[in-house]
Symmetry: C2
Subunit: 447 residues, 2 copies
């Protein structure tokens, strides 16, 4: 069903006082779609839709609501009403929500949970944002190496309703150290009397609670895993991260990296929902920094004031030359930033890439020089044409090499290479462009 | 094991003529890691490592080799030797490889396959690149609605070794129309005599062969699916796309989008492996286009030559003002391009976002004006300070609104909003910056 039709149906049901019946009428609607649709309504209406759901669906739909709406519900709906839902939400979602609440709101929520759930919640929510610990769930199936296949399948059947996945089960020893992993596929193909220790994959690939979410997602993608077991510093199993979390992480990291290409700080919520002041804060820092970078270009121009005053026609070509330098630099910089982020290239590849970039940028410079030489001749005659063509060749080369090298330089000093955004590279390439242009012009015109 | 140690071990084994034994010695190494390591060797050595593997591992390791190495193997190793591997590779990987081979190479490969495999291969490889059809696999399990749970589990057990996943099985009718989906979890929890038609989810979410890979990945992420069934135009089931393919698609699309922010064309292979001419081709188009964009800025400057010649101090502030306009524009443009790509915002949100952007950009402009007014005073006195501050305020606003609107405008005319890259917005904002700066200066200085 189209989202707009669904919303209209919900609106009608509110008007005819049948909101509590609408979910049943919407035969087989997916909880994601229902969650998206009801999140368009004010909190009190949303609560009518949510509370009318059958119990298992309530937690599912709640999980798919945007976090800011979850927070609004947690603060505006009485604890007694909300507690049954919160108890059924998966532990990692619950920890996420908990981290967004104020101290007082947390205090109000905790008594609604059983002691074991409370401890689990406090543990899960103690991990730093951006780490594996912050996205893992404690809802996984543990098996003993001594179980046989029949016993293991019984465990899976019994625990399935409460677990995030039963397709991978983890084998731990008495100290809770992770010793193996077994898939449901292996279990249903194996002879029923086989012992888990004979069936399992030993020393499975695992992540650490402190690993970054990006590294965890990379492992999941590289090894095509359904879930990655997470261990603490003593190698004890503490949770799993599932493939669907990895998908969310990859998309969120891509958004962050794309924003960084334009010097925008990390934005946790949708641009549509972000407040004016939040957007201001995420944007103002680098804009002001770059103003000071551009002062160097201004100073470069001021230095050549006499040449410019004598040959004011030179100014016509200024935007075109420094623009091309910056654009070529943004291209090579962006290529490097992304390749470093995906692990496609390493620090040690700089030399080889530099040699290649010299040839690519040389070709680009020649093409660009050819593209503007006629324009130079038409606007300023032979001398200007020569100056513009020579400068174009050199600024494209200089911009490209600056763009290529800056991400490596930042990486080398343990800074985030993504800081080498298009605007930063453009600012630096602009200075190089101004200086190259007017030095070549001054030199050539005084020959 | 560290990649470098693994490669050293492989090298030693070549020298001591024990390459055919090395995989066994490397207890429990993951096929991905083995594939990465052997791909560092020349093809003839690589073949020694690959051919020495036990049969089921050969196909796994082969699948994880980079596609250019798969192609090199297909062309340099005799068909009789390679055929047993190719036959075991999963259909989607085989179709991928097939699409990279020349007509002759394809002709050589086909006889190695059974007739059914051949038809499947030709069908899979017939789909256009970038569509669901091109990444789907035909290795999925089909069930009949009339089966009971025991029968269904028998089917899964029998077919498991050859299927990409058995965690989702698809229920089709006699016309092969997709009527339901059932998960292995549901199957092992259900009473053994229950019929599939009572257990299955009816009308499951599905994609069409012609959908873009991006849309498919979005569906998989949105509904947290393990696999998405793909249907043809007559709604007949033709394949599945699994979550691991979705992860690869999301990462590849992010790379493409990040490259677009800097006007780089779609690059299918790593920047490390790309040839000089390929990189040149992917970069030159927009660089040349933007040169012509920058001519307008040059013309703007030429138009105000008299004002500039009379007040050459104005030039000092030119890079700083047009730079800020472009940077603010790149920020708001990038925010919109990404939000449109992820579906966070729609075309109809333009009005609301425009109102918000006016306020954000207004605040940014005020801050930036405050940041430069002192510099204006110091370099040029009271008049210049006023002109620079007023211009800064206006160019940040103008740049931001251009950056915000351009992606919507492109979307509106069914063009890719990502074409509104930083450099394109910067070029347009530059023109606005030049014109605003010198008109304000001319007007104010002639008051």
């Amino acid at each position: 069903m189209e989202a707009s039709i669904l919303i209209a149906t919900l609106r009608d049901s509110l008007e005819s006082n049948t909101a509590h019946l609408v979910y049943e009428q919407l035969n087989d609607i997916h909880p994601v779609d229902y969650a998206h649709a009801i999140s368009e309504f004010p909190i009190n209406n949303l609560w009518v839709f949510l509370s009318a759901l059958p119990h298992p669906e309530q937690a599912k739909v709640f999980s798919y609501l945007p976090v800011d709406i979850q927070v609004a519900l947690s603060t505006q709906i009485s604890r007694n009403k909300l507690a049954p839902i919160i108890r059924q939400v998966s532990p990692d979602e619950r920890a996420d929500l908990f981290n967004r609440l104020s101290e007082e709101q947390r205090e109000a929520l905790l008594p609604a949970l059983a002691i074991a759930e409370r401890e689990d919640l406090l543990l899960l929510s103690s991990h730093e944002e951006g780490t594996a610990g912050a996205i893992m769930t404690s809802d996984y199936v543990m098996l003993s190496a001594e179980h046989n296949v029949t016993q293991a399948l019984d465990v899976l059947r019994r625990e399935a309703p409460d677990k995030e996945t039963i397709y991978s089960a983890y084998v731990v020893d008495k100290e809770r150290l992770l010793v193996g992993v077994v898939s449901l596929k292996d279990l249903i193909l194996a002879p029923v009397t086989m012992r888990i220790k004979e069936l399992m994959t030993h020393e499975p690939i695992s992540g650490s609670v402190e690993d970054s979410q990006e590294d965890i997602a990379t492992l999941i993608a590289k090894y095509d895993l359904l879930a990655l077991p997470i261990v603490d510093n003593e190698k004890r199993m503490v949770g799993i991260v599932t493939y669907d979390d990895a998908l969310d992480v990859v998309a969120a990291e891509a958004t962050e990296d794309i924003h960084k290409t334009a010097t925008i700080g990390k934005l946790d919520i949708s641009v549509k929902d972000a407040s004016i002041f939040l957007l201001f804060r995420k944007r103002v820092f680098w804009l002001v920094i770059l103003v000071f970078g551009n002062i160097f270009s201004g100073a470069g121009i001021a230095f050549y004031e006499n040449t410019i005053a004598d040959h004011i026609a030179l100014l016509f070509f200024l935007p075109l030359l420094i623009g091309s330098s910056g654009n070529a630099g943004a291209q090579s910089g962006t290529l490097m930033v992304r390749a470093l982020a995906t692990g496609d290239i390493k620090l040690r590849d700089w030399g080889a890439l530099l040699a290649k970039e010299c040839l690519v940028a040389g070709l680009l410079g020649l093409t660009m020089a050819a593209a503007v030489v006629g324009l130079g001749w038409w606007r300023g005659g032979y001398d200007i044409a020569v100056i513009v063509a020579m400068t174009m060749m050199l600024v494209v080369l200089a911009g490209s090499l600056i763009g290529l090298s800056l991400p490596f330089l930042l990486s080398r000093f343990k800074l985030d290479p993504a800081t080498a955004s298009g605007p930063l590279i453009t600012s630096i390439a602009d200075v190089a462009g101004v200086v190259l242009y007017f030095s070549i012009a001054t030199w050539y015109l005084n020959l």
